[in-house]
Point group: C2
Chain length 245, copies 2
DNA sequence: CAGTATCCGATGCGATACTG
DNA sequence: CAGTATCGCATCGGATACTG
């Protein structure tokens, strides 16, 4: 490629898409916008990225001037942060996420939900409200998750919320049983929490008061308020359009 | 790849970037948003895309439900149009273009401007204002364009504006002489037209009245009103960051 | 003009193995 | 924990040649 850019244009859209439209790049930026700063934190929100590629993407973003990196001193974690230009990408990320939420058919994505990513995502937007006990523990039980990943604990302590894959040993205040599909649909605003509870697709047991407050502490994805367009107008991802014959 | 999407996520941003973040895809959509409907029209705004790839991208967008295509009956041109979901991508394209205009260092892109693309782009936003004569012809002369591409004609007739690469034979009303870099910078809002005229980096000769109205009929890129951030905050494209040592 | 099929080199990226 | 170097396959995409 002899040209000055992959697209050979001075057009700002072409230059931007040269930088941004690579596999994983926008998702890495989303993680940074959501406040992750360490290598492993970022990777945790990107379940399928290989570590070498994450490393490369972060380096590219650094050399572009979208991310800065203080290397961690001796074993401790370095920190990645967005520059001003990186922060400004929030408008791009938001526009694309909103478009996806409005227009993309979600059905295929529900077939194989990664439970670790789902829980990590839920943790992002959980609300440690004052009405909860000083330490409040919820156990999630996904009946259809792979062995060893059925149970997850969310531990609210003050303003901190910890996510565990192994029993932290605390007394359980609330126990939530459901399947991955239902939890994902409710979380994303594609299904109604009240309906799911009524129809017992989600079972909540334990202390009565926090159960009554579930809508507050559970929160929902930031995109849940954007509603989907009617099915006939929706977009399919290529793989879906081709496969499944 | 076994997963339901390249990113294995129900996240709308991941699904959207799976569809949109491929080489050329957003630029094809930009062309459609700008009103191009035929294969060659679209290709004209994408100087470096290969025809087979353009064909494939259009087919992908069609099967996703972002574009519709009526095949042309017998030798006549078919037509591509955006669906409702495709139209809605305007917010994404705009956000990314604005970000690029604000934050990306434009310097490298000026080194090798494709004059055909520049003229095609200028034609997009030219204004056939009423004060011009019924037929108004401007000849552009780029001193540094490759042989055979130095001269371009813009012919305003009523509300139509035609772009020619060969002499249409009409009498020239206005003659504009400059270099590619200056024209691009002015067009994109990176340089001031008045300054360029004053410093004679752009020479305008011919009929006095239209010359006085140049700011109106020439127009500027839609992005010209967005101003760049200070150089120290700007972003470089990877290739630029690496090369040029 | 409006595309499409095929070929094949370039690159992208995941796996693996490694360091501090 | 926080990364990086290398290798090799798989996919991408440009060139070319072709059809209606």
């Amino acid at each position: 490629m002899v040209s000055v850019s992959a697209y050979g244009q001075y057009c700002p859209l072409a230059m931007a898409s040269d930088i941004l439209c690579n596999r994983w790049t926008l998702l890495v930026i989303r993680e940074l916008l959501d406040g992750s700063t360490s290598f492993n934190e970022i990777g945790r929100g990107l379940p399928l990225i290989s570590r070498s590629l994450l490393s490369r993407r972060l380096r590219e973003l650094d050399s572009s001037g979208i991310v800065t990196h203080q290397p961690g001193a001796r074993g401790s974690s370095g920190a990645y942060h967005l520059t001003a230009a990186g922060q400004a990408l929030e408008s791009v990320v938001r526009a694309m996420a909103i478009w996806g939420q409005e227009w993309i058919d979600e059905e295929p994505s529900l077939e194989d939900v990664d439970v670790r990513f789902l829980m990590w995502d839920i943790r992002r937007n959980v609300k440690p409200i004052a009405e909860l006990p000083p330490r409040f523990t919820v156990r999630f039980d996904f009946e259809d998750a792979p062995d060893g990943l059925r149970e997850h604990w969310l531990v609210f302590e003050g303003t901190e919320v910890d996510l565990c894959y192994v029993d932290p040993g605390h007394e359980i205040d609330v126990h939530l049983e459901t399947d991955l599909r239902t939890m994902t649909r409710v979380w994303m605003g594609w299904d109604d929490l009240d309906a799911a509870l009524r129809e017992e697709r989600i079972l909540l047991t334990g202390a009565r008061k926090p159960i009554g407050l579930v809508r507050q502490w559970l929160g929902l994805s930031k995109l849940a308020e954007i509603s989907k367009r009617p099915p006939k107008d929706r977009v399919l991802r290529p793989r879906d359009a081709v496969g499944n014959v």
